[in-house]
Every structure is written in C-alpha cells, then in structure tokens.
Symmetry: C2
C-alpha cells in the first residue's frame, strides 16, 4: 500500500502538506496542490482509514455500527437497506452485527464496535433496559435506537406506532365479526411486543369485548415458534376464528402450520400479520398485514445519526412512523389493491 511518505516523496513535499491537501485544501498553495494531487493520482494513493481513526478520535473516521436483532426478518433487511443507502452517499461504511435476539451476542458485538472506535451506532436494543447500550449513550457515543426505544436514558429513536398498528389490525377483525382473536407475541421483553399487545387489548376494550388470556401466546419472534404456537391454538377445544401474528417470521410459521393441517384461510381462520413484505401478495392467501416502512426508517435513522455526530449536543428526538394496515384476502375482506 502506498502511504503518505510515498506521495510526499513523489511530490517533493512533506507529509504534512500532503495531508493538508487531503483535509484542508484551502490552506495550501495552488501549484503545490497541483503537484500533490498529481502524485496522489499517479500512485493511486488511498489513505489508511485505520491510521486516520487512531489519530483523530471522534466523528471523522466514517465508520458506524449497525446492530440488529434478526437479519432473517425481512423488516430488518429493509432497515439495513435504508441505512446503507444513506451511508453509501456519504462514504461511510457500516459494520453489520446480527445478534439473533441473543443478549450475549449483542454485548460481544457492542464491545467489538467500541474497540473499533466507530463514529456512531444504530441499534435495536435487545430489550428496553439494555444497560450496555444505555452506558454507551451515556459515554457520549452518538447512538440512534431503531424499532425499539430505551427506557431511562435520553436517546434518539426511530420507530413505528406499534400500538396503533395492532389496534387497527384487531379493530379490522372485530368489525368483520371476529371475537375469538388469538395473538402470537414475539419475545415478551421486547418493547414492540408489549406495544402490540397493548394495541390488541385496547381494540377489545374499545369494542366492549373481553380479552381471553388463553388466546395469547408468547414465543421467541422466530419462524419455529410461529409454527408451534399456532398448532397449540388450533388444538384448543374452541380454536380462535382469527389470528394476529406478532411479526413476519411468526406469520410465516403460522401459515405453514395452518396449511399443513388443511385449515382454510380465511373461512376457518382469518389471519392478519404484523410486518408486511413486498411479496405478501404472493402468499396463499394474499396476506393482510400491518406495514412498517423499514427502508424509510433506516434512512431516517442514518440521517439522525449524521446530525448527532456533527452536533452531539442537539436535543434528542423521537421519530414515529405510522403503521398502515394493508388489507388483502387473508382475513376475508378481499381487496383489490396491493
């Protein structure tokens, strides 16, 4: 790798001058600048980000961390794409860490990121009282929480109105005449799970209906638990007439179990999922789902992070996107839009 001294030698100047041409071009004579630029080009010099990062702590090493719970969940893939697009435009790189809903793994990755001296972090904390993340916020590292907030510490956060999304979904089912509506939750300690449960309960209350606790199941936010818990629900003496699934992967697991038993959707059981996917329409049947704008959320998180890196003192903000119900045929009310 060519380095600063090589360029300096080729241009007949000192390394300080070369560095200045790179970082503060105004401060160097036009002729010298020419020579240096020339040398840089002809040697194809690229500064070492590692050395840059070691030397100048804070905010200009152009690398950030992105720590997410489950890369297999298409929602987070959208988030990644959103973040990544914004990063790319600014020449930033992201160290991507998928902690698979595992707190130990999250901690390890956060340690690594810290010791990589990242400029900032976008993270969906493993749960609301994530001490490690809270400490990092307190230590002054620019951090944006996405999808899940943090209790007890001031931090920027980008999320969706989960309660309202669930409320809309359940209300829709109730209006279609359903009363026995089951809910398969993701990991109960995750803030989104709680908010969605709250929306579920609020919808029942709003319509003067009682909540049947036996119809609420708690899983681990993954495909397998969707399969297993759906089976448990179908095995009840009086199975539910409708099912609300707490995320993407649970929905797909539920579909698999329902199909394997030959149960008809929506005739025998209606289905509404949290998290829409661009191919939800190609499922059997086309899935009614609550849509979170993952891509936009990712972009927004990245922008907020850039802001905070530039101005660490800016007051924290909370960006709440709407969750919108996409009605398709899996809950009976076939609609013709996508």
């Amino acid at each position: 790798m060519t380095k600063l001294t090589d360029v300096a030698k080729a241009a007949g100047v000192s390394i300080a001058t070369v560095s200045r041409v790179l970082n503060n071009p105004g401060s160097v004579n036009a002729d010298t600048q020419q020579k240096v630029q020339q040398a840089i080009r002809s040697l194809n010099y690229k500064p070492s980000r590692v050395a840059q990062r070691l030397r100048s702590k804070g905010g200009n090493s152009k690398i950030i961390g992105l720590v997410l719970p489950d890369i297999q969940n298409p929602f987070y893939v959208d988030v990644i794409r959103g973040v990544e697009e914004a990063m790319y435009e600014k020449g930033y790189a992201a160290i991507m860490c998928n902690f698979a809903q595992n707190e130990d793994k999250e901690r390890l990755y956060l340690d690594i990121l810290q010791s990589e001296s990242i400029d900032g972090l976008i993270v969906a904390p493993v749960h609301g009282r994530d001490q490690k993340v809270a400490n990092m916020v307190l230590s002054g590292l620019p951090i944006i929480c996405i999808d899940r907030g943090l209790t007890g510490v001031e931090a920027d956060v980008v999320l969706v109105d989960n309660q309202q999304g669930a409320f809309d979904a359940i209300s829709h089912l109730i209006k279609l005449g359903h009363q026995r509506i089951a809910y398969i939750s993701g990991l109960p300690q995750i803030p989104t799970s709680k908010a969605r449960l709250a929306g579920y309960e609020a919808a029942f209350k709003e319509h003067g209906l009682p909540v049947d606790e036996t119809l609420i199941k708690y899983g681990d936010s993954k495909h397998e638990s969707g399969m297993r818990l759906t089976a448990e629900l179908l095995d009840l003496p009086t199975p539910p007439t409708a099912l609300f699934t707490g995320n993407n992967l649970i929905t797909l697991g539920a579909l698999e179990t329902i199909h394997s038993r030959g149960v008809k959707i929506p005739e025998e059981i209606a289905l509404v999922g949290f998290d829409d996917m661009y191919w939800s329409i190609s499922l059997n049947p086309p899935l009614t789902a609550v849509r979170q704008p993952g891509f936009e959320m990712g972009q927004r998180a990245a922008e907020l992070l850039f802001q905070r890196i530039k101005d660490p003192a800016r007051p924290t903000v909370k960006v709440v996107f709407d969750a919108t119900l996409q009605v398709r045929s899996s809950c009976g009310a076939a609609a013709k839009n996508s």
Copy 2:
C-alpha cells in the same frame, strides 16, 4: 477508554508486559500475570482494535469484509448468517457491504475495505472478470469467492452446481410434458446466470428438443424485472406452458404478475424457481424450487477464509455444493414433502 498505560500503571509493570499477558501469556511470570489480569479486570480494559490493526499488519486484526450483490435476496441472507455464525465463534467482526448489483458501488466498498486493512474478504464478484477483486487476490489478500467464481485468477470459491440445478429443474418440467418452457435469466454477465442457462439448454438437448430463443428473457435479477418479463412472456401469441425463473426475486415478481392476471398455476402455467426459501411452501401455490444451501455455503466460506489467513500458501480449492430440486405443487406434480 482505558488503555495499555492505565493497566500498566495499575499493575505496576510496563506496557510491554501487559501486552505480553494478552498475546503471549506463557512468556510472563505467574505472579506478574496475576497482577496484570487483575488490573485488566478491574479497569475493564479492552484493547483498541484500531491500534492493534495499525501496528500488526496482516491476519490478526479479526475483521473481515463481506461483499454481496443483493441483501434483499434471501439466499444471500442465508449466506450472511452462515458467515456470521462462523465469525462470531472466532471473535471476528464483519464489515457488510451490499453493492446492489452495482459495479461502482462494489468498487467503492472494496476500496474502503482495503483501507480498513481487513484480514480477509468473502465476496460474490459483480461478474466473472472483476478486475478489482482479481487485483486484490493478486495482492495477496486472503479472499474467498462465494456463489460466483473469478476467471483468470486462482482463488478459493464456494458455489453450487448451477448448471446441474437448472438441468434438473428443466428435466422435471420436460418429464411432466412441457415443451414451451420459458427462462427468465438474471443479469446475463453474472456467472450463475450463464451456468443456469447452460443447464436449461442441456436439458433440452438431452431430451432431443429444440430451444426456442424467444422464450428466454434477460433481466436484472430483481423483483421488478421478474414482473415485467413475465408479463412479456404471457403476452406472447403462444405463451409458454411452463416458466423457470432465474432467482428468488424474479420468482416472486413472476408470481405477482401471474396472479394479477388471474392465470392459474400450474394448470395454465407451471412454475419452477431457482432458489428455495424456507417459506416457499406458504406461497400460492407452494413453490417448486431449486435449493441452494446458502447457510452452509456461508459457513464453509468462512472456514476456508480462516484457513487461508492462517496459511496463505495453501492451494486454492473449489467447493461445489449440490443444488437440489424441491418438488412442490407449482409445477403440477404435487408432492407431500416440504
């Protein structure tokens, strides 16, 4: 951040000794070691990976690059998970770069990775003659190609027998009586697209049937092109009776177009896709697809990379996984397995 000097001061030794405790514990006296370990723990010292990387070039900075064409494609998500699991076990971190089939973006990311002094790289090159990647291989950086090989340069590669997979898929359709079988290819310059086309043609040849060029369409490996090209095929005076889609996203696009026109699968058109997804069974109808073991491929690539980092002189290997046809009902021969 606490640093080596802090620990050294606390333990009453020099920084060199602390460093030795960390990297070469055998070489230091047991008592001293105790003291140092103690100090490290009580100060919660974590070495700066940046400084480590700057100082000791090559092979022990525990960070690698992972450069993939399209994170929206679930196959690559499986690859990521496989790589990531293997990395995690060894305390490595990965800088994830999604170049979205865009050569400029790939180049930018490769530049960044180089200037981050990564230990190694796992990459699915944008095409077979990717000069940038080839140069990096030549420069001695440990590199494993995944999913796509590199022509003209010796490099480790992990992929699937794409030709055989396509051959099996088409043979299956031919045996079911289809003759007008369309193929929607991904980007034609990608090696996998070529291999799959070769398998398609080989199957026709094997069965003594002619290839109808008008039934072969080339897209960009994304959802939208699947939609558009399927529409073109359905608009033909004599539409195909079967469709073979060149990847995941094309398949989903094809499904969307087919459903939007109310065309029946498999009665009016049979469908076989390249790339299986764990939720293929929940599609409408359950999708017959060629399965690539993405997770295993990712794991294997990571292992090969570790090997190469340890022993840069090891001869290059080519690992070829089987592509297996998962028969479900989208091509007519309903089968009861998953």
